[in-house]
Every structure is written in C-alpha cells, then in structure tokens.
Symmetry: C2
Subunit: 159 residues, 2 copies
Amino acid sequence: MADISNRGRLLQIGEAAERASLTQRTLRYYEEKGLLSPPTRMDGGFRLYTADDMERIDRIRQLKELLGFSLAEIKEMLEAEDVRLQIRAEWRKDADAEEKAEKARTAREVTLQQITLIDQKMGKMSSLRETLAERVRKYDEMLLRFAEAQEPEPATIQS
Amino acid sequence: MADISNRGRLLQIGEAAERASLTQRTLRYYEEKGLLSPPTRMDGGFRLYTADDMERIDRIRQLKELLGFSLAEIKEMLEAEDVRLQIRAEWRKDADAEEKAEKARTAREVTLQQITLIDQKMGKMSSLRETLAERVRKYDEMLLRFAEAQEPEPATIQS
DNA sequence: CGCAACATTGACGTGCGCGTTAACGTTGAT
DNA sequence: ATCAACGTTAACGCGCACGTCAATGTTGCG
C-alpha cells in the first residue's frame, strides 16, 4: 500500500493504463503506431512498463491534450528527442562525433520549436482569457442593474 | 483593394471561408451542426455572412484549436453565451425579469468555467515549457562539451 | 445571350484515435 | 488442479470532422 514497494517497479499494462489515465487499448495502439518502443515482456508475453516508459506515455498525453498534436506529429517529435538518449547511450563508443553533434543540434531545434509553439498558444490563450474576463464583468454589470431595479434598498453584499 | 470597401460588407461563403482559413464545407458543416445560425441568403440562395457571423466563426476556431473542445462542447458554450445577446435583444420587453437574471447567472458561470479551464491549461503548459527549456540547456551543455573536445582552444562565445 | 465563376444540396468517402468483441493464453493464490 | 483475474492478438466497428464528388442552379460581366 505504501509507495515504498513502488520504487522501480515494473507495471503490467493494466496498472500502467490506470496510472496514465488511458486504456490498455490506447497503450497498445501507441506501441503499434511506433510512439512507444515495444516494452519488455514477462515469460508469458505480458508487457512490462518501466518508469521511463511511463514518463514517455505522459509526454505523449501532454503533447496531445495540451498542445493538440496528432499522434503522427508526436511521433516525429519523440524520435527527434530520442536522439538525446541514443547519444547518451553510445557516448563512449564515439564513432562519428560530428554526426552526433549534428543530431544534438537538430534535437535542440525541435525542442525550441515546441517552446515557440507553446509561447504562441499561451499568448493566444491569455488574450482569449482577457476577452472572457471582460465578458464576466459585463454579466456582473447586468446583474447589478437587475438587483438595483428590483430591490432599490441598499443591503450588505458579500465580496 | 483598400479595406474601405470592406466595412460592413456581407461575405459569400467563398470569401468568408478564406478569411477564416476554413473551407466552405466546414462552414456549412458548422451550420448543419447548429454552431452557426442559418445565415441570411441572397435571392438565389447564396449564403451571406455578417461581421457578427465572422466573429462567431473565429470564436469557434479558438475554442477548437486553442482549447481543444469538440464541436458539441463548443455548441453548448455558444448557446450559453447566446443568452447574453438574447437578453440584450429582449431587454425592453421585460417579461419574466427573474428568469433573465437566472440565465445571466448561468452564462456568467459558464464563462467562469472557461476561464478556469484556460488557467489550468496555461499552468500545465508553462510547466511543460519549463521542462523543455531545461532540456534545451542540457543540449547546450552537450554541444559545449563537444566543442571543447574537438577544439580545446578558447574562443569567444555569445550569450 | 453566353459563359465563367461561384454557389447549392445531397450523398458517399476518409483518416484518426481509439472501442469492442471473440477466442485464447498466463499468473498466482488457494 | 482449479479458478478468477489479468493478459494476448486479430479483426471489425464507430464517431467525429470534415473531404470529395456529382448534378444542378445563380450571378454578373462583355
């Protein structure tokens, strides 16, 4: 019950799906589409998800729900990011150093692009927020005029 | 060519679609689904969109692309908002004053809900932004180590 | 009037992102 | 050994948000 037993544990698809608030079908679908690398399996063939897998799954959700990317777009992004891990993995067997640097630069660019997009979205959202806030003020005004019309005697108002 | 001739002009579906960066099909679809009220027509039956229509179309795009709502959800929102216009229209024929006030309160609530949702989204987005920015710093670090390894002589670096 | 450009209403098609069902295998506790 | 709970693949289905014809009508300019 405590989270002590959860540190570094591998999850079967059921629990993985629940924790990610997705369905098993969705996880398998992401795998099928190449967004998730085929996870390790138990002897019987059951999928086992690592903490890294879970993080990746969460990234997918964020990119999809928050930024509205299609799975195809997300796949591309993640592939660009994977370069980072690949580089880290093969860091010591340093074949083709310049090639790695090139990949790193690409990954950096992709990430910057995402940040730019986030900034744009947030800008639009906050301007939308402002028009909505303005609208609320209008409603308040309306309701105030209503209250005045119906009950012309002053009363104590709460905030 | 100047925008003088555009003030208050009614647009046919072709130009309307182009200005909204949507297709004619999409506009007709929105109308079909009840998101757009049936626009006025020319004698021949061609649709004519007013400036208000265009604003509404833009709101739909914002709610869809920015916040990721489904058309069904957007429809509900717009209906709640329409109350505002309805009230304004029937303001003087003041039948059932309390009913109107109730509608105004509802519309206010709906709008506040949207604002809350925007705040939540923006919160998540800015935390995502932070992790991405962190990632960029990691890349920069990597690239710096690369540069050092290949060219051990100190050079002038920008920012 | 003729003709190109633009519009109309159906109706069927499509891609995405899964849901659902069927038939079957695995695991683990009792 | 049994049995419930959990998992597997394969295949079909589905709702959404339109795309894409096809057949037909309208507008407006020369």
